[in-house]
Structure formats: C-alpha cells, structure tokens
Amino acid sequence: MSRYIATRAIRGAQGMVREAEEAVNAALVELGPDAPVAFTNTAYYLPVIYAFTGEKVEKLGDLPAIIERAKNLLHPVPSNNMWLPYLGETLDSGIATLFAEEAMEGARFARGTEPQVIKLDHARADGARFTGGDLGVHGDKMKLNGPIDDIQLRAWGIQLVDGRMPGFCAIVGCAKSNEVAVKIVRELQSRGILIFLSGNVNGRSIIHQLQEEGIQLGYDTFTVPFGIDTISAVYALGFAARSALTFGGMDAGNARKIMLYNKYRVFAFVLALGEVDDLKYATAAGAISFGFPTIADTRIPQILPTGVTTYEHVVSMPFDEIPGADDMERTEKLIQRCMEVRGVKVKIAKVPIPVSYGSAFEGERIRKDIMYAEFGGKRSNAFEFLRMKPADEVEDGKITVSGTDIDGMEEGGALPLGMVVDVSGRKMQTDFEPILERQFHYFINGVEGIQHNGQRDIAWTRISKSTFGKGFRLEHFGKVIHARIHEVFGNIVDKVQVHLTTDQAEVDELIEVARVAYAERNERIANLTDESVDTFYSCLLCQSFAPNHVCVINPERVGLCGAYNWLDCKASYEINPTGPNQPVAKGLVIDAEKGEFSGPNEYIYQNSNQAVERVTLYSIMEAPLTSCGCFEAIMVLVPEANGFMIVSREDPSMTPCGMTFSTLAGTAGGGMQTPGMMGMGKYYLTSKKFISADGGMKRIVWLSSNLRESMRPALQEVCEREGMPDLLDKIADETVATTVEDLLPFLEEKGHPALTMDPLF
C-alpha cells in the first residue's frame, strides 16, 4: 500500500466526515430530527449504510449515529517516518467516506436539493425529457438522475448477475477533451458496460462534456448522470450494495459477504479522469473494499499487488503517455486496460465473417473442382503456431496480414501460409499452448466452404470458390481464431492477436521459430513426471454408463480412453472449474513403488459411490484403476507366462488368455476394479510408469499386431530405455499365438525375459 495514497485517503475521509457532520447538524437545526430522509423509490434506505450496518435511516435524527460510526473508522494520517502497510487504515477510511457521503446525500434529499439541477452553457432546444422519472432538461437547466431506483436496479441487476451485462464503470471527473469523453462512453457502451457519471475537475464534469456533445444520457442509454460532485459517486456503491442484497440473497449488516459478493460477481471499476484529490482517493478506497479497482488517467502512485481486488487495486495510465497515434487510439487503450484490470471478459456473439459458421460445416470436403485456393499440402508449406505473450505485447483483436491475399491469387492456386497467434491471459500457462492450438482445426473447419487438415507445420487449408466469392479473405481466419478462442477459452485467455503471412521468406523464417517451440513442447511433456507435481486430475465423464468408474490421470499416464492427458485435464479444469476434470491432491505417499497415494484413494472412494477403496497406479495386480468401457486397449495377466498381454480395441482375434477383446471388456468394464486386468490408453505403454511395479514393458508377452506396428518407433525406444533393444520382437501377437499353448513355446524360443522374472503371484 502506498503511503502516499493512504495519507491522501485518510485525509480525504477526515474532511468528508467533518463536512457531512456539519451538513447533518445544519439540516437538523433547520428541519428537525423527524424530517424524512429517503432516496428515490427504494426499499433499501440509504443503501451502503443499510447493507454494511443494517441501520435503517429514515429521518434526519437517524444520521448523527451514522456520523459517529464513520468517525470511529477514522485513523490519524501516517507520519512521515512511519512505514506500515496502512491497508486496513485506508480501507476503513474508504468505508467512513462512503458512510459520510451517503449521510450527506441523505441530508440533501431531506432538504430537497438532490437530485442535482445543473446549469448548462447552452440551452437545449427540445427541452424534452430524456431520462427516467421526472428528470430532464428544461431550457438551460438539467436535472440529474441521482441514485438508481429499485425498478431499474432489478432490470440491470438481473443482467449483471446473469452475465448479459459485463459490468459497470463509475466515471469520476472530467476527460481531457469533449471528444475523449465521447469516445470513452462509446467504447464502454460498445462492450455493454453500464456507465455512471459523477465528479468534476475545477467545476467541469464529464456530464457537461457529454451534454455539450449532445450525447443522450439516462437509463435508456445505460449512461446515468449521478451528480457533478464526487460525493454522488457513492450512488454507484449503493447500487452495488443493493445488488448483493437483492440478487445475492444477502442480509443487511453482513458487510463482509456483501463485499465479497461484489468482488466476485459484479465486474465494476472506477475510472478517475483528471486530477485526483483527497476526496477522490478516499472514495476510491471505499470502492476497493467492494473489490472495485481504480484506473486513473493521471500520474498517481499505483497499488499493483492483488488482494482486496482480484487484480491490481490502483492503476495509473497518464493519458498523454499512452502510446497511440491520437487521443482516440489512446482512449481505446485506456478502456482496454480497464477491462483487463477488472477482468471483464470479451463476448463475441457471432463470428464476424462473410459466410456461415457452425459445427455443421466441420465435415465439408473441398474437392479440386470447387476449390479456389489452398495453403499447405503438396504445393506449399504452411504452419499454425500459438504462443503465450505478456499482456502488453498483445493487442486484442489485432489482425495483421502480410503477403498476397486470396484475391491476389489465381483460381486453383497455392501459397504458403503462416499463422501466428499470440495470446495473453492471467490464467494462461505455457502448458496450455498446444491445447489451444489443437483446436484451430475445429475452429477453422467451422467456416462454410473451408476444409482444414493437420496441425502445426503440416497444416493444410482449402477454400472454396463460393466462399472466396462471398468475400472471405485471410484476415477472416484471424477473426475466426480471435472469436472462438474468446468463446471457448475465455476463462484462461484475455487477449488474442493474429498474424497471417503468405510471404515465402517470412513463412520460412517463422516456421523455424515455431518448430523450436514444437520441439520444446514435446520435450516438456516427455519430462513431466508424477514426482514433479503434487496434483493429479480426475475424469468422471464415463460415470454416465459406468457409475462407479473414476479415472485418475497422472502426468505419466494418459486416461484409458487415450483422449485426455494430465495437461488436458488441467486446462479443462481451468476452463470449466465445475466440469468432469477435478484436481486430486496427491496427498501422502503410501507406497511409492506401487503408486498408492492417500489423495487418489480418498477421491476414488468418495466418487465411486464408496465402491472402490484404494488404487495402485503403477500395478495392476492389487488394486488397479477401474475400467469404464472406452479404453483403447485392455491388459490382462497371462499367469502361465508370468506376464501380461495387451489386446487393442481393433483386434477381433482370440487371444492366449482365452478371451477376445469384447469378452475382456465385458469382464473388466463397467467401472469395476479387476485385479489382473485393466483398460488402458495405448500411449501408456511408452510411459516410464507403465506398470512399473509389476516389471514394466518386460512383462509384456503378447501385443496385438496393429498396436505394435502403429507404435513401433515409440515402443522400440521404450525397449531401448529398458536395456533390451530386441524385446519388441520377443513379444508374440495374434499371428503367432491365439492360445496359451502356442504362446509359451514362442516365448521360450525367443527367450522372453518374463519367463525368468520373479513370479507375479
């Protein structure tokens, strides 16, 4: 916490409380203690006070007690040589300020001086009502809105709660120019963000600015003028407090819950325009208690560490120092930064391209005769590459194209294509890069008239004549990627920019950069071990048909369906925290060799309807994982051979254990734990933890030939790692043995190691 800010906020609070006390006392003398105090059409009294304290202020005589409460929250200004965190003092001062401001507004309502009437420089000709209630402009007078009434609170509150309205912005002060003021409002409106206006700088408010530019203000335009002083900004917090009471089911007086509700559910922030005085600091401190950060367009000390708010507390972006060609561009960046600081998510309703988009187009084939152009394949090289970047290096929605565009190509032509996608996000991790990148195939295939194959540096895209004819160009690939990443990965990605190039030299250069990254990724996954993490993940997707089945997925074992590895599950959990993949703490090591841990045991017991009590991850002899029904292959003990055999789903043959794949699946499947049998994903074979407690690869005496052949290079590597380069050919398959009687002589002849290993049981 900045000592400077603490000092200013505490001083501001002291001043505000003093001022409120004077105003209340004066009103009491003038109107007496029974004079009614009420905001417009609300059942929540003075809402911040009511929400935080449960006190129902209904008359002037109720206010002195509130002033006392505010005073009790005041602290002395920190001395120059004292360096303490100050956070508590600052937040207390913020709350004291809000109480005092609301009490002040209450006194004004008692006097009839609220909502405010301001004088305009220019009389408006229409003089028509342009905002809710009896507000409006009459001649050169304009009556401001004051607090939001309960009816409007409900209408907007529902939208804030259900997510249709992404958040609200309380603007306090005055913009650099009228033009900037209008641009700020337009930028916020285009994102569906509700805007509250208050405050001034040297008597001039953003309300004046917008009024002069003829901008419609009021409920209908989601742009509500509260008042031209900072005090009226308290109405924004009253609105937030009432949201929590109405939609959060909170009880008045439960301050902590109300503040947390706002932090996690109401995406609001303060935009301070122009000089920040003591009262603004003090009011901003009040907003921080709600979890609402402040972004200032002037140079002020920042409070970046997160804590009370989700991300930064106070951010300074001196307007003239924002990089940009002109004030308009600077404004765009300012608002973009606001979105990031508060974590407001971008929503793109429709993919903005000239042809249809949807999963119905995923399977389209673009044959030669209807193709306009292609990228990648036999005639050119192409690649796709997604990388994580720091937030300040990514400009959301920026799409750049270099080289010849599609309309510069001849019909039936081919060009190289490089697509580099930069993303940033506070919850993004390098490990998620390949997961996002893998989705490009589906994202791009959703475009009508586009066929996409492959990934990484074997990507191959075709575009149809008709889609080209409707105006589809390279930049639209970028728009698709941008929109879909936000839609699917909004939980982890904040910003996306895309660069496309058909320039051969640039493609050749960038493809090498991408290849280095691809290699690093392969390396990283290969080096990820069970010991290096403290969390595994679960998968409960198959419980719909195998009620007691629980997959535990560790870094060194892919799920038995082959579709989910540990990283996929980790990302899936970040994207959908209530979904089928949940973290499973590893817990205490019960048996390191067999892979038994307290965390998975507890998780499995709870989530298998208490049917399975323990699991040994590295052994199938005692308590193997349960098997659902979608395993790629199944492994079973061959007691006669002192080893195991593995049958793939594609292999229909009889096997030495006397059971075919489907009989085996019927025996072990359905969520049962069957010692000696287990479903598995085929890449589990290449893991160092592959039944490591039972002897690993050396125990495999029989393997469906299609598995061996399709995975030969990877399996050969495993054999070499195990120190037996010729092991793979000592393993039988269905061409040499479909009975145990045929199997044993084969193994004897080849000298299979399993025959002389320790007995399995």
């Binding site: 979608c630 007691p639 030495p656 006397g658 059971m659 000696g676 049981f761």
Partner: protein
C-alpha cells in the same frame, strides 16, 4: 465376501484342461467371479478349493423354477440391490389369478396363455395362471385346476389354497408334472403343505401375515427341516409401504447378511379392487424385488404397461436394448417427409422418435446398426461412420419411398458430412441438430427451407 477372478484362479488346478468349456483356467475364473458359470463345470477342483469357492460363489438368493417345459420360468439368483450396481437377472413372473369356481375360468386361462405383445423386437408374454381355491371340496379344486390346464396347456400354474388336501388332489390329478408353485404353507398348515410339496417335488411358498419376518424365518426352518428346499417367500404385507419394507429387508438380509434361511425369491400378491390400484402395486413389485407377481385383473392396458416396465427394469444397464436396424415409419410418412438417420441404441432411437412423434411430424427414421451405441460413442468406436450410414441408406430401400434425396445426419457427426456425401453422391447430406429436442424446430425451419 466375493472373490476376485485372480483369487479364484489361485484355487483352480491351473492346467488349462479346457473341460469346463473355457480355453484357460483364468477365463473360467473370471467368469466364475462374475457368477456367470458354475464351479461344477471344473472336474478337477480340489475339495479344499471347493469349500472355499462354494462359500463365495453360491447365489445368495436361491433360484426357483416354476412350471415345466418351454414356458417354465426361473426366479431368484439376484445379486444386487439396485440395477445400476450390475443388473437384475430373472424378471418376475406375471401371473393372473382366477377363482376355482369362476364360470369363465377356462376362458381366462386361455386368454392369459395367449396374451402376447411385441416390443423392441421382443415378444412379451404373461407367465402363468394362479388358480385360487374358492373353498369347498378338494375334488372340486382339482377339477378346476384340470380345466385350467386343459384350456392353457403348458402354462405354468400357481396353486393357491390353504387346504393341503386340495393342493394334493390337484397335483395328483396330473398337475405335478408341470411343477406348479404351491401357495402357501403357513404356520397353521406347514406340515401338511411341506409333505405335499415334497411328495410332488414342487416349489412351495411360505407365507406369513403383515411382513412378519420372524415368523417367516421360523417357518423357513420348519419347512426346510421337513425336507423342502425350493421355497418362495410371501411376507404377506397388506400396504404398499409394508410390502416395500418387507421386500427391501428380505433382499438385504439375503445379499448383505448372507441369511440363507431367507435367501429365496418373493411372491407379491398385487391384487387390488381396481386395476389402477393393482397396477401401482404391481409396478412397485417389479422394481422392488418380487419374483412372482399375482394379479387379479386381465386388463390389457395394465398388462402391457407391466410387461414393458419389466422389460425396462430388467434390461442390463451395461447392455442397453438395441433397436432392430431398419427403416422406421414415424406417423405416416409420405414421399415428401424428411429422412433422418440415427443409431440403434434404444434411448437414442426413443429420443429421436419421441420428438418427431410428439411434434406430429411424419418422418422416415433410418436406424443404423451401431451395436447399440449412441451417436457419439458409436462414432468414436467406428460403429457409426460414413460407410455405415451409406450402407444403411442403400440397404433400406428409402430411395424408392421419397421424392427427394435429402438425408439428415445427427449434428454430433457433422464431421462426417463430407465423407457421407462421397459415399452417397446422389444424396444431399444435411447436418441436423445435436440434441433430439431441437429436431422439430430444425425440420420446420431448416429442412423445409
């Protein structure tokens, strides 16, 4: 405690002699663990192993076979409380009761024997006739039973009388060969009934009143002491709540407490004054553990409901019902009606058929053979691919039924559209919605557009 396949394997000879019919001892052991075969199939099992295995493998609820010949049915041998745990195995017999002095006895018997209804490719029938002694002389009862047998040859019988002499007369009159179920031995008549059951080697119901399980346990001991082993239990509760409690307790005692004395199938007398009330009772009995259900009303709508329910509840959750793969007509489709294709997983079929039926849209519904898997699972397993879709279309004769060539494939396999188009070049492949519930809207707004 049930043994795992591996534990059983350790107790077997491990010679792979194949005389049990399985290629390896391990395969046999795995099947034993699933209670899918019997230890007796192994000629070489040692006595020690047999003792250990018998204890673990004897079914906790004994099987009772009622009737003889083609229509005989077995009940019991259940191993779970809830069907999702594994499956229920022996569906309850549905038996209609007539009084021995009823004028239409022969007529009812013939109708019960002849009732049948088709559902998802299966023929569902009733299982038996119960002849209830109207009182009077034993000979009269025997005559009534003989009349019923004549009217419904081969139909399993339940002989219901408190009078052992009447039962004896009926059995002696020829019914014994058909192994009817005798209902019932009670505290009052058990000696005589047990003697009759033993003499004729017929299964016997032991009956108490008001769910008195203590009484039932005592009676079980007495009757078994008298040499009758094939028992069926009638806890005699009179309310739905009482029946449910008794049936649940008996199943738990058998499965969880290993109470062999009470490890027998149950009979539920579901009879009630109205068929509606009877349907409720019988519905409960189907789900909650009855082996034999006795009804009083020959009301086809009720019987059809119960047969359908029984089929539903006794479907193995791991092996869902498969629809016959073929062209289905929903409503009365014409040459202009839409053509949809889906898989032969019954629930998939019902969802799709239900939506178009409910929306009143006549439709040609092609059902492909996906081995009973849903669209996504079938697709993932390669059982519902472009080739299968094309084969189904070509083999169905649909091209002669419609004037258009538009085929709607499920939205979940949108990715197949290009391949299907290549397989079926003369057809326009349209991608339908992912969820069945959106089909009516799709047909209205997209298909026709």
């Amino acid at each position: 405690m049930a043994l795992s396949g591996l534990q059983i394997y350790k107790l077997l000879p491990q010679t792979n002699c194949k005389e049990c019919g399985f290629p390896t001892c391990l395969a046999f052991a795995m099947k034993l663990a699933q209670k899918g075969t019997e230890l007796d199939k192994c000629p070489y099992v040692s006595d020690d192993a047999r003792t250990a295995l018998d204890a673990a493998s004897a079914p906790p609820i004994k099987l009772a076979t009622i009737g003889a010949g083609d229509r005989a049915f077995g009940v019991g041998n259940e191993t779970v409380m809830y069907r999702h745990e594994k499956t229920f195995v022996h569906q309850p017999g549905l038996v209609v009761r007539v009084k021995s002095d009823a004028a239409d006895l022969a007529d009812v018997a013939a109708r019960v024997a002849g009732y049948s209804v088709e559902r998802v490719g299966m023929t569902l029938t009733l299982d038996g006739l119960a002849v209830e002694d109207a009182g009077g002389r034993a000979a009269a009862y025997a005559a009534a039973v003989a009349a019923a047998r004549a009217a419904a040859p081969g139909l399993p019988l339940v002989l219901m009388s408190a009078d052992a002499a009447a039962i004896d007369a009926a059995l002696a009159g020829g019914a014994a060969a058909e192994k009817p179920l005798i209902h019932a031995a009670t505290a009052a008549n058990w000696q005589a009934m047990a003697e009759v059951a033993k003499k004729h080697a017929c299964p016997l119901v032991i009956k108490v009143a008001d769910g008195d399980l203590d009484g039932l346990l005592e009676l079980s001991g007495q009757v078994r002491g008298a040499g009758v082993e094939d028992l069926v239990l009638d806890p005699g509760a009179t309310t739905l709540a009482g029946e449910l409690a008794a049936a649940t307790q008996l199943r738990r005692l058998a499965l969880k407490k290993g109470a062999r004395e009470l490890g027998y199938p149950l009979v539920a007398v579901a009879a009630a004054p109205t068929w509606q009330a009877e349907l409720v009772r019988a519905t409960q009995a189907v789900g909650k553990y009855a082996g034999v259900i006795i009804l009083d009303h020959f009301e086809p709508a009720m019987l059809y409901s119960l047969l359908t329910l029984r089929q539903n509840i006794y479907t193995d959750p791991q092996k869902p019902i498969q629809m016959e793969p073929k062209l289905y007509e929903i409503g009365s489709p014409t040459a202009d009606s839409p053509v949809l294709i889906t898989t032969n997983f019954s629930l998939t079929y019902f969802s799709v058929a239900g939506e178009v039926e409910g929306a009143g849209i006549p439709t040609w519904l092609l059902v492909a053979d996906s081995d009973g898997q849903s669209v996504l699972t079938g697709w993932a397993a390669g059982k519902f691919d472009a080739e299968k879709i094309a084969k189904t279309v070509k083999g169905s004769g649909i091209e002669n039924m419609v004037g258009h060539k538009k085929l709607v494939i499920p939205g979940h396999v949108a990715g197949l559209s290009g391949e299907v188009e290549e397989e079926l070049p003369e057809w326009k492949i349209m991608v339908g919605p992912r969820d069945a519930v959106d089909i009516p809207n799709y047909i209205k707004n997209v298909w026709g557009a």
